[in-house]
């Protein structure tokens, strides 16, 4: 029946004010509905605005445009009936497990007896009995997140928001907690009607969600909606499961079909001076090149496969792969990474040759590196302060992103020995390059 959905989001736009007065758009044109009995996954890389969207839904901040309505009511404050589970657990270290769980009920002003009985019921449900009087620091990460779940469930929310709830846990603990949650959910034991899960883990999204919204960055937007029709419990090794994971990898590595107006369509995108560089260590670059060059991949690897074998999640793997692509050591498309001829050459060379090749590619293909080198060459004393480049980058990006980009280029520049940087004086130079 076509009743009001639990949550209805139309045309959401969110921007942050930059210190210079400009606007930084983080979310644009987001439409989303959540129906009863649904788990919807927001899947994307860090910086795609999915956590920001979750906070808008939670009423923790206000959108710049668009509307969020919960059960037909516009959200203007943290609504009753929407509870959240946090990535870092967000437990109060000075409260016991029981007191942490009771917190939301106390805020609702319920009678003490009801607070107590509901809290104990939630603690039992989530498998924490016996730990009522423990403090969070006495618990392992998995148990702490169970407290986080109990605290959210105890207020009997209609919607449960989960902000990467398993990403701070080790693999085994995370899997146990996911399975326990799904069991309770499918048995109908949870007092919730719908779930929104933010994640950057593709397998987690496929394992848990009924619908997956794939997010893209700059600004954050929904690229693709994927419905998961596999029956529960889902098995990771099931070929249908693998196919779906592969399909999402392809979606996430796809190049935009049509370039947005004003941007050039490049074979190797993202090397202009205004592009944000991810913090990637040269060790990881060399490591991934070697891994892909070696058997069994021999120069071409399926991203989900190599991610699993290297125990890397997309948030770790994609920046490395993209930096290699930017340096034209590799090409990423269709869920695959394949090395270029120079990439193979790099993997097979010794340190000196690697550095020479790296320096050559860095200066040729990364505009910012070439720009810094040019400025340093042009100055009589071959020195330039940090702010010289930071100010320039801030015309294109937020100060945080400019900081990160400069740090990243410093790391690459140091490895390539094309310039030096003194962090004490905040000065770039050609000293001992």
């Amino acid at each position: 029946m076509a009743t009001t959905p639990l949550l209805d989001i139309r045309g959401i736009r969110k921007s942050f004010r930059r210190p210079d007065g400009g606007e930084l758009l983080v979310l644009d044109g987001i439409d989303l509905t959540l129906a009863e009995g649904e788990i919807v996954g927001l899947l994307g890389r860090s910086g795609s605005g999915k956590s920001t969207l979750l906070r808008l839904i939670a009423g923790l901040s206000a959108p710049a445009a668009g509307s969020i309505s919960y059960l037909g009511q516009t959200v203007t404050a943290p609504p009753r009936g929407i509870a959240m589970v946090f990535q870092g657990f967000a437990l109060f270290p000075w409260l016991t497990v029981l007191e942490n769980v009771q917190l939301g009920l106390e805020a609702l002003g319920l009678p003490p007896d009801e607070i107590r009985s509901r809290a104990i019921a939630a603690i039992d449900l989530i498998g924490l009995d016996g730990f009522e009087s423990a403090y969070p620091r006495e618990l392992s990460g998995g148990m702490r997140q169970r407290v986080g779940f109990a605290r959210a469930l105890v207020v009997h929310p209609n919607i449960l928001l989960m902000d990467e709830p398993f990403s701070a846990l080790d693999v085994l603990t995370a899997e146990t907690l996911r399975t326990d949650f799904l069991d309770l959910w499918s048995e109908g034991q949870l007092p919730i009607k719908g779930v929104i899960l933010v994640t950057h883990n593709i397998e987690e999204a496929v394992l848990m969600c009924d619908r997956i919204l794939v997010f893209g960055s700059n600004p954050g937007r929904i690229l693709k909606e994927i419905t998961v029709e596999l029956p529960h419990p889902r098995a990771r090794l099931d070929p249908n499961f693998r196919d779906l994971v592969e399909r999402i990898y392809v979606e996430m590595t796809a190049r935009p079909d049509a370039a947005p107006a004003g941007k050039r369509l490049e074979r190797f995108p993202g090397a202009g001076i205004g592009s944000i560089l991810p913090p990637v260590s040269s060790n990881l670059l060399a490591g991934l090149l070697e891994a892909v060059a070696a058997p069994p991949y021999d120069g071409k690897a399926d991203l989900p496969v190599i991610a699993a074998s290297l125990h890397m999640e997309i948030d770790d793997l994609f920046p490395v792969a993209e930096t290699l692509q930017m340096l034209r050591f590799a090409e990423v498309a269709g869920g695959d990474i394949s090395l270029t001829a120079e990439g193979r050459h790099f993997a097979g060379s010794g340190t000196d040759e690697r550095k020479r090749l790296f320096a050559q590619h860095l200066l040729s293909y990364v505009a910012l590196a070439a720009h810094i080198r040019r400025v340093l060459d042009a100055r009589p004393n071959h020195r330039a302060p940090w702010s010289r480049f930071a100010d320039e980058l801030e015309d294109h990006m937020s100060p945080d992103a400019a900081d990160q980009t400069l740090r990243a280029i410093i790391g690459l520049g140091r490895y390539a020995e094309v310039f030096a940087y003194d962090d004490h004086a905040h000065v770039f130079s050609l000293d001992n390059p």
């Binding site: 009753r80 109060f92 270290p93 007191e99 917190l103 016996g130 009522e132 605290r151």
Partner: protein
């Protein structure tokens, strides 16, 4: 349901009257008697000038100690109230913050004894002819020695509450009142208690200095250890001074055992980051309170009543920082606000200059600045000397856990002990040996504050990771190289904290240290402290204000130009992790 049921929170299952209950009853009764005794004297009329109010008989000392400690306690309560309101306001309101925080910074730099000179007359006039007015003045003076750093610490804690916890508290719809007591106050508690202890240390110094003070014709002599000492100095009675010192030792020990140890042990659970392997602080008083059945009976209704206040507030709204101020109205409001601030500042500056220049020639302003330079040289030389002595000692102690365990409380105790009680001993020695007061009075300034350097360095040295020490041994790093590459960089941030505290304290102490009397002999060193002290004695408000303004300016400039950059460097370059 679980197989067992939990006892109602707060009430222990044992209902039998235990030994701990006896301890608690005794403690509570003792505190009540203490409060009653000490507050009895407040409403009495001021004694006639010249009347004998203080007796040098040692048997009077317990009562004096009681009165002195109560003043400290009253000031501490005031400081806490100030902290909770002022710092919270500054942390919650952007506009208030722009004024309150720089103001706090300036207040911190004003010499504390300067406050007494200026405010004593005002407070006396509030309750004319009664002891109460003089008590107000003394308590206010102690308050000024305690409140600023507590407020600063609380403000900084409020600004650094972890974001996820703030979000969780909004998401679970905690009202601002509930959020303050469930999240913000607990998060700030460990740093606040640490600062309360530091404030208390400073407070002892000034309680002694503020009980017997004369500003021109107005003489305040409140019964207390400070007045006892003042009389002992006037009568050159070394025996009485010995008794006073012994009493002070006992008072500080009692404060430590009954107040701060329980507080520190209690606040341990509020620490946000828990280092593994560090034994939690313990306190027998806290144990007694926790295990007492009577106390839990008394506390449960209080807890219920407290929780009831959480429900009083209305519906939550968007978290404050989210609502951006937009539009022209806000811009105009901003402009109006800044203009007002500027005008008020200019007016105040003009008033101060006009007031000072009424009676003081510009040449004398120059003299005051020169005196300030003399005091500055003293402070820097003394800090350097104290560092040369205490840094190696502190490193040595800090690397030996057993030694550090013994030395650390002693150093903290020495920092808490009011060094001005020891001044008479030093002064009598200078008089007898006919030494140059310009040189030999100086060490008194750092007598009490040098310990901050020592215990901070001990703390720093004991946190050097054992891996770093092992690699030093492994690479045969020894001698000066070991100090230069391992020990000194590792303790540098901690040393900076200690040195900044010591420097601030020494400036404050200069007012009592640069001019000293022993009977009818007065020793005077050339310096800004002596200048202020003399002006105070003569009731010369123009010169008091000039002296205070110059000293505040010196402290502010030295902090900004010297200590802060060094501290930032230490934090950036030498902090582990």
């Amino acid at each position: 349901m679980t197989a067992f049921s939990l006892p109602p929170s707060g009430v222990s299952r044992r209902s039998a009257f235990s030994l701990w209950d006896l301890v608690v009853v005794l403690l509570v009764l003792g505190v009540l008697v203490f409060l009653a005794e000490a507050s009895r004297g407040l409403m009495q009329p001021l004694p006639e000038p010249g009347a004998e109010v203080i007796s040098l008989d040692p048997s009077a000392l317990p009562e004096y100690a009681l009165r002195t400690s109560l003043r400290m306690l009253a000031a501490m309560v005031l400081s806490l109230l100030f902290t909770f309101t002022y710092a919270t306001w500054a942390a919650k309101s952007q506009r208030a913050e722009q004024v309150l925080i720089p103001l706090l910074d300036i207040l911190q730099s004003v010499p504390i004894l300067g406050f007494i000179s200026v405010t004593a007359v005002f407070f006396m006039s509030l309750a004319p002819g009664r002891v109460l007015g003089a008590e107000f003045a003394a308590i206010f003076a102690i308050f000024t020695s305690q409140a600023w750093n507590m407020a600063f610490s609380f403000y900084q804690s409020l600004r650094t509450v972890p974001r996820e916890l703030v979000e969780a508290s909004h998401s679970f719809r905690l009202s601002p009142w509930m959020r303050f007591w469930k999240l913000e106050a607990p998060f700030a508690m460990p740093a606040l208690i640490w600062n309360m202890m530091m404030s208390m240390s400073g407070g002892w110094f000034f309680v002694v200095a503020s009980e017997a003070i004369s500003v021109g014709d107005t003489t305040v002599t409140l019964p207390g250890i400070g007045s006892y000492i003042a009389l002992a100095i006037a009568q050159r009675d070394l025996g009485a001074i010995g008794w006073a010192i012994a009493t002070m030792l006992v008072v500080i020990l009692i404060y430590d055992q009954l107040l701060f140890r329980p507080l520190v042990a209690w606040a341990d659970r509020f620490r946000f980051e828990q280092e593994a392997g560090v034994a939690p602080p313990r306190s027998w008083v806290l144990n007694a309170l926790r295990r007492s059945w009577l106390l839990s009976l008394a506390v449960v209704p209080l807890g219920t009543a407290w929780r009831w206040t959480y429900r009083m507030e209305g519906a939550p709204t968007y978290p404050a920082p989210i609502i951006a101020r937009e539009g022209k109205a806000a811009a105009w409001a901003d402009r109006f606000w800044y203009t007002t601030i500027t005008l008020v500042c200019l007016l105040a500056l003009w008033k101060i200059i006009a007031f000072v220049l009424e009676d003081v020639t510009p040449a004398e302003v120059g003299t005051a600045v020169l005196f300030g330079l003399a005091t500055m040289v003293r402070v820097f030389v003394l800090i350097a000397l104290a560092s040369i002595i205490w840094v190696p000692v502190g490193v040595w102690l800090g690397l030996r856990p057993e030694a550090a365990r013994i030395a650390q409380p002693i150093a903290q105790f020495m920092a808490a002990f009011p060094a001005n009680l020891l001044f008479p001993l030093a002064v009598s020695a200078i008089v007898v040996l006919r030494l140059d007061p310009d040189i030999w009075l100086s060490p008194l300034m750092i007598l009490g504050t040098q310990w901050y350097i020592l215990f901070n360095v001990i703390a720093g040295a004991s946190t050097i990771p054992s891996e770093l020490r092992d690699i030093g041994t492994n690479l045969h790093v020894r001698g000066w190289l070991w100090w230069k590459r391992i020990a000194l960089p590792a303790v540098f941030p901690f040393y900076m904290t200690g040195a900044i505290t010591a420097s601030g304290g020494s400036w404050n102490a200069s007012i009592v240290a640069e001019i000293a009397t022993w009977g009818d002999t007065t020793l005077k060193a050339h310096g800004l402290g002596a200048y202020i002290a003399e002006a105070t004695e003569g009731g010369d408000f123009h010169r008091i204000v000039l002296g205070i303004a110059v000293m505040s300016a010196f402290v502010v400039v030295i902090n900004r130009a010297f200590w802060r950059p060094l501290y930032a460097l230490a934090e950036r370059k030498f902090r582990f992790g």
